[in-house]
Structures are given as structure tokens and as C-alpha cells.
Amino acid sequence: MPSGRGGHLATLTRHTLERFYAEVGLIESAITQADSLPEGDPKTRILANAARKFERLGPQLGILHIVVSRYRQAIDRSDVPVGLQHLVGVLMADVLITPGDPLINLDPDDNYSTVDLVDLLDRILDRGLGAKSEYTKPHPIAFNVPALDPANALLSPLLAHEVAHSAVNQKLLAELRNKDSGRTEQLLLSHLQKSGLDLTSQAAIEWAERFFGWCSELLCDAVALALCGPSFAWAFAAYLPPSTVAALNTHPPLRDRMAFHLAGLDLLGWTPLMSVHSPGVLAWMRNVSANPALTNSAEEAFLREAVEQLRAEIFQVAMDHVSYRLEPGDFERVADEAIVGLRAGIPWVEIGDSVLSTWQLVLAGWCASFAERGDAEISLVDASNDAQYNALLVKALEMSSVVLAWRGDGNATA
């Protein structure tokens, strides 16, 4: 099966099974060796160890079973729109560092999320030191999308955040660390001292681990903003309404993230366009994000200050990584016609000599929905829940991919 339809899950499964066979071979050799020993404690110990290793293979094979049974129906699937498949392909090309093979998984609960299955299966039989994977084929990447609403175009920018995790782990966090130059460590030390703690305390390690989580999430948000522009911030606000509950966890609070999104969009030059197409929604986002729910804990003070002092660097690292950033000027040149088309229910994708890109179409979709439904925060939810409208957008994404493929073949003039 060609790459691009999830067929590499079969390749990865065979690779993993071969590792299991090798493991069984090693255990059998140990048993044969023990059989040559006289009865006694050493022989008993070796055989007991072999039995333990056999027993451990049970849950280890169970992990492989879960992965294969969960994702097998996502291989070569034809029950999701071509537009969604095209969008996922664009994301993988623009964001991933190592080659990937997408599996679009209709998931009843674990969405939106992505999983690099090599990363997961390699851990099963590793010996703890995170050795580089021997698997060299394209990585099967699972895209877990809502089972009953897989092709929601307006929420699709959320997938950009998810795909970014792979690049963040592989490269972007290290780049951010280089730009940090030890400032965060100094800040951590200073906040710990205020609380009577030092770097070796368990609480300090938990603060540091949470900082790692916050930085990872904000880097992914920044990548999604660079790729998708305001669409990501609107999709995020529609999918995760900003909670008033104060809590600290592995992800920054929703209102803090909304503030981060607005700052990033301003840096990327999107504020004027948002002021034109959705001034009411923009005002609502500014108001909500300026009123975060606080726990007033020492850890929270450290985390907020740490990510604030790195904000510019986070955006810089993300922007440098994204090869095809969505530009406000490019969008404005095609926006009016694209919006008119979508409001009329027509999936226009060719405007003048230009073909609307995936993220231009999604952004036009959001702008058209504000024009149609009104400039208010309720439109975020109403539009993303409109199945018919999302189907129109997905059809437009499909048309865009067709035209681009046609032109790519040299059969159309630019």
C-alpha cells in the first residue's frame, strides 16, 4: 500500500513482532543454558528469571494488540472526505520533521489528539535508555478525530497544534532552551527560595516538569497560529470555552492561552484583519483573557513569569519552523471573493490566478460565518457545530487539492 494511507502501520507491526520473536529466542537460549547446569540455586534463579521474562511478554504483547486493534480500520480508509485527507497531508508536510504516514482514526473519546506509533511501540521492548529507533520507515501518525464529526473544517486548526508536538519534542524545545540561556533556571531558583525550597526538593521537580509541559503546549499553539492565523484561536475558543475554574496542571489555563493567542496574532500582523471581520469577538477575547482565574500559589507565580519572559522566543522558534506561514497580506487579496463564495454556498477555490490554500479556505470559512451569523462569541460555537456549512468547507478543501494537483501536473496555467 502506498505511503499516505496508513499502510506503514503494517510495516511497524511486523517490525515490532520481529523484536518479540528475537526476545523469545533469547529467553529460550537462557533456558537451554540453564538445563545444562546441575540442580541447585543458580539453575533455579535462571529458570525463574526466564519465567518472569515470558510473563512480561503478556502485557507487552497486549500493548501491541491495543495499537493494532485500535488503528487497523484507519488504514486505507475511504469513509472520510478527501478534503480532510488533503488537510492532514498538508499538515504533515508543513510541520513534521521525520516522514510520516497518517492514520485518520474516528475516535469516540480521545480527540483531538495525535500519536506517533513508533514512539509508543519502541518503548515496549526498549531497555530504558531511549536508544535511537531501528525503525527507519515513515512513522504511522494517528490523528484521533471526533468519531461523529471527523471532518469539521472549522475546528481542523486544532490538528495543527497536535501535529506540532512531534516537531516540538524533536527540535523546537531544544531551540527554545538555547534562546533561554539559563534565565528560567535562575527564575526557578529565585521563586523556590521565596518559598523556602531548593532545587533538590520534590516540589521543585514538579514545578520544573510543569514548566516543561506549559512550554511544549505554547510552542504547539505558536506553530498552529503561524500556520493557520486567527482560525486557530477561534477554533480553540469554540472547542474549549475559557473556564473560570482556577487550577494548575500540565497545560496552561485556557484564559492564559487565549491571551497568548492574541499576542501571537498581533505579532503576526493579524489584529487589523480581526478588527475588521470580528471586532466583537476580538473584544470578547481581550476581555476574557485579561481576567484569568488565579490560584495565587507560588508555583503559579513562577510558571506565569517563566512563560511570559520567554513569550517572544516561543513565537520566534515557531515562526522559524513553519515553512509556509499564513500571511495576512496574501489572505486579504483573496478574502472578499472567497467569503462571498462561501456565503453563497459555492466552494470557490480559484480567485484570479491564485488557488486558495488549505488555511486560507478555513480562515475564509470563519470570516464568512461571522458575516452570516453575526459578530458575537456565540457564532464561534454555532458555526463549528453547523455540519452542512463544514461539509461545504471540506468540499472546498477537496477542490483546492484537485486544482493544485492539476496545476502541479503542468496541465493548467498559473
Partner: protein, 160 residues
């Protein structure tokens, strides 16, 4: 990865599988160390020739190098962290001294591994290694079995 931590906790299928995989990895290393220790007692191999004992020492060296919070700022929690937590768990307290009780235990195991790698481990050190890695092997197997229990099976009368 998911968009929010709420989802991380609410939908535990993937989280459980990842955790089980990490525990399996740690357990496999412990099993290999125990197997090589048993073979060394049978005179089949020297501890200095054991790749598993050498790998375990590398892991303990990494733990020793990352003993304070600054090393956790920029890297994902790994096997060394899992091992440190396991060692610290019985003495865990909320006032920041959780790691203290396990530090000497981890340091002692590291010293014993270093001796084993050079083939100079004493009987006491070999016993210490067997005791430590047997505990890791047992705990990780139990954890993995619990995490994977019932996968793909009916879970109550109402699903049968």
C-alpha cells in the same frame, strides 16, 4: 498528546498504554540485570561482561546527573525519573523531602553497579543489586498487568 490536561486524565486509554510501555521497558532492563546476576552466580558469565548491568549503570549515572529540578525544565520525564519516583514512593511527603529518603538507596545501587561492571562486586553488593532489581521487576510487572487488565474483554455483567 491532547489539547488539554483535562483530556489527558479523562480519556485514559492512551495514557495507560504509554505508562504500561514505560513500565515494561524499565522491567525488561531489571529482568536482564537479574538474569545476568544469576548467570554470574552460576559461573556462566562475569558481571563485567553484562550489557544489561552496564546499561543500568548508565541509567543510574543519568539519574545522578539530573538530581535537581533544573534538569527537568527542558526534557520530558523519562525512565530515570520513573525509577527515581519508584525509589522515593515509600517515603513520599508533601514538604519537598520525598527524594531525600531514596537518594542514599539510589546512590548505593549505583556504587554496587559500578563495582559489578568492573567485576569487583562484593557478595553484599550483589545481594543489594538482586534485591533492588527484583523489586523493580515485580513492581513494573504488576503495574503493567493492572494497566492492561481487561483490555478487549467484557468488564461487567452489563457488557456480556
Amino acid at each position: 498528546m491532547t489539547l488539554t490536561a483535562i483530556a489527558d486524565h479523562a480519556f485514559d486509554a492512551e495514557v495507560d498504554v504509554r505508562y504500561a510501555a514505560q513500565m515494561s521497558s524499565l522491567g525488561s532492563l531489571a529482568d536482564d540485570v537479574l538474569g545476568d546476576l544469576a548467570r554470574s552466580r552460576a559461573g556462566l558469565v562475569s558481571t563485567s561482561e553484562s550489557p544489561a548491568i552496564a546499561e543500568a549503570l548508565t541509567l543510574f549515572d543519568a539519574i545522578a546527573a539530573s538530581i535537581d529540578a533544573s534538569s527537568s525544565l527542558w526534557r520530558e520525564s523519562g525512565l530515570g525519573d520513573a525509577l527515581r519516583r519508584m525509589a522515593a514512593a515509600p517515603a513520599a511527603t508533601s514538604n519537598g523531602s520525598a527524594a531525600d529518603g531514596s537518594a542514599s538507596r539510589l546512590a548505593g545501587t549505583r556504587r554496587a553497579l559500578a563495582s559489578a561492571v568492573t567485576g569487583s562486586a562484593t557478595e553484599k553488593e550483589l545481594n543489594e543489586l538482586e534485591h533492588f532489581f527484583d523489586a523493580v521487576s515485580t513492581a513494573t510487572l504488576e503495574t503493567a498487568v493492572v494497566a492492561m487488565r481487561g483490555r478487549g474483554q467484557a468488564k461487567s455483567w452489563s457488557t456480556i
